[in-house]
Symmetry: C2
Subunit: 394 residues, 2 copies
């Protein structure tokens, strides 16, 4: 018997936002929630104790990376991811689908599954809806996802429809396969449908009607304009069952988090807060700042006044600036802790506003006062990531 449950404590009267509680074998998660990404069984540069202190309730780990190194069988031998990485709160593992999709020419997909070449050693691997259930059972996360197909932006209607239909067939196969494995794990479904409103609506209906305990929305934030992503959510959310938690995969800048909560999303994972931190980008109430800029050189106050994170409680912005300019490893930690705490505090504020019935005003005020990275910076960053991904593959 699964010990998973989801209850809703409050709903916003003006938007689709809800405040809920997810129960898992490793504890309770209050939603809306942000999950840091621990790709290789570690949230880059941050220890488990520091994650607890920052208020992190649940993290995401990547099946693709862990199946290749150190291998899911080894993690199973160590009693699962929780024991292996010394983390006792809930974990969610993705299915590897997104990573395989991003491998481009290194993968081949047919009805059986997806064949890909490892970015580490070029070895060939086949992922099927069934093998992914076995691998995720070995990893032992509290919440797991089924193999899906994510298409790129833009794509043709035919590609979009075929990928979605196969994702639906794979969802059925995953549900059947899941029965062979650990009952304490909870399987979410994944909505696809690319950037076609009708496909998104249809996929939400199909996946929403399958016996999944929660719904993830995949295939967004893959290069499309923000407006397109929000339009897709406008079509998806009304079709989803009310009583299941909704996870928007791979999204999680402060501004996107607040916007998507208003569009009915409950769970968010994203490497962005820790990745931009490593490049000097730190979140404040007024927007993202770059700690390496000269104005912080002599700043006696913390990175953000009144921030309750370890970094801001103990170090001046000038010292954090110094470490960042020196590319000292302690910087990557201090920056990551700050941004993670920022996201968790934001999630808690958002939840408070939903419970108080003031979320719409909170959202509007937040979006008016928070300056995200400029679109041009964002575009440059996207190019850098693409190049890094290509380099990984080479």
């Amino acid at each position: 018997m699964s010990s998973f449950s989801f209850t809703i404590e409050a709903e916003c009267p003006e938007t689709w936002a809800r405040a809920g509680t997810i129960s898992t074998p490793h504890g309770v998660v209050q939603t809306p929630i942000f999950m840091p990404v621990g790709t290789q069984a570690t949230v880059k540069s941050v220890s488990p104790e520091e994650l607890y202190e920052a208020g992190v309730a649940i993290i995401l780990a990547n099946t693709y990376h862990l199946m290749l190194r150190p291998g899911s069988q080894l993690i199973s031998d160590f009693g699962g991811l929780h024991t292996f990485m010394h983390w006792d709160n809930p974990i969610l593992t993705d299915s590897g689908g997104f990573q395989v999709f991003s491998l481009g020419h290194l993968r081949k997909v047919n009805e059986e599954g997806a064949t890909f070449k490892s970015h580490l050693d070029g070895s060939a691997h086949l992922l099927t809806p069934e093998s992914v259930m076995q691998i995720e059972a070995e990893l032992g996360a509290d919440i797991i996802l089924p193999l899906d197909i994510c298409v790129s932006y833009p794509c043709t209607s035919t590609e979009a429809r075929e990928a979605m239909e196969r994702t639906h067939r794979w969802a059925e196969r995953a549900l059947t396969a899941k029965e062979r494995y650990r009952t304490e794990q909870t399987l979410f479904g994944i909505v696809q449908g690319a950037f076609e409103p009708e496909l998104r609506q249809y996929s939400a209906q199909v996946i929403g009607n399958m016996p999944f305990a929660g719904i993830a929305v995949g295939g967004l934030s893959v290069g499309e304009p923000k407006a397109v992503m929000w339009e897709m959510l406008h079509h998806v959310t009304p079709e989803l069952p009310e009583d299941k938690p909704r996870h928007l995969l791979g999204v999680g800048s402060p501004e996107d988090f607040v916007t998507a909560v208003g569009l009915g999303m409950d769970m968010f994972d994203c490497a962005l807060p820790t990745r931009v931190a490593r490049h000097g980008g730190l979140f404040t109430r007024h927007g993202r700042v770059n700690i390496t800029s000269a104005r912080f050189r002599t700043e006696r106050g913390p990175v953000e006044a009144e921030c309750d994170c370890y970094t801001c409680q103990n170090y001046s912005a000038a010292y954090v600036h110094h470490l960042a300019r020196c590319e000292e490893q302690l910087y990557y930690r201090l920056g990551s802790i700050h941004n993670i705490r920022y996201m968790l505090r934001l999630a808690s504020q958002v939840r408070g506003a939903i419970c108080a019935g003031t979320f719409a005003a909170f959202r509007d005020r937040f979006l008016a006062s928070y300056t995200p990275a400029m679109e041009v910076v964002r575009e440059e960053q996207r190019e850098k990531w693409k190049m890094a991904r290509r380099a990984n593959k080479a």
Copy 2:
């Protein structure tokens, strides 16, 4: 008035080892002691709280690096290094002499001082015995060192003598200049003399007779065979005043620490424990192991059985191995914490043995059971560092 004092609690009847206590404005240090190196006002990848937890009593910071970035004046404006870097235990700053010496063709030395070009931006700087006293006053460490001249190995007798004699004249100038600055700081002298027994003896006498509160031995561990370094200490120690602490600069592998304590040294600083950790080398009671080697892949126990460090208390060797193979930043932290704790525990065991009158047996047992990095590995590493230094300069 200086609040510095040094008392000796025990002396080994068979060797020159002593157990002492140093008092400074920021607290007490029991000797023999190992100091981690915080070159740029941070011990690479480790937080102050983690250093306290590992038993670190005192750290060394590098004047050369800090005067260039962020600048000693800025650190002074922040109330000194302790406040700037959030570290409340004692700090020792070196004089910059060793770094300037290692810059090779980028420096020029005359009687006034040493001119060098910054490895960061090529800007020219002049260090004199007087300006170093001012810079170190601004940095605000508890213990400071005077500008000295370190020659390379091998060198001619003439070079060795001239560098030593100038070091002595600069020591006098530093003592005079020091009177203008903060009385709560304590100045140590530096013995030079390269690899000439008579020069080493003479320098120990001259520096030992000057009104320094402690004596550092410089110019060793610069590429000479280990036997040569020990021979030099055999000549130096008997000439030094008994009642002053003795700091062997830049030395601090486990085997060198234990050996040099037997030759009368009390204080040790070295980047080696944290540097080799970052390259996978971890200390155990049986010697240095490489955590990336395949035998740790499935190791359920900690890196070292019975080790009381944070790493060994919370993580399997297999997980540490996984992080190291993935080059995850958490690895650099976990490895560094382990080696630092190892060094501090070793220092505490050495002190215990001295107080119990069993140091000679402890040392012999330790050196018989501890396998250091093979000489060939050491040689490769030395070459790598030299190349890295050259790259820095380019």
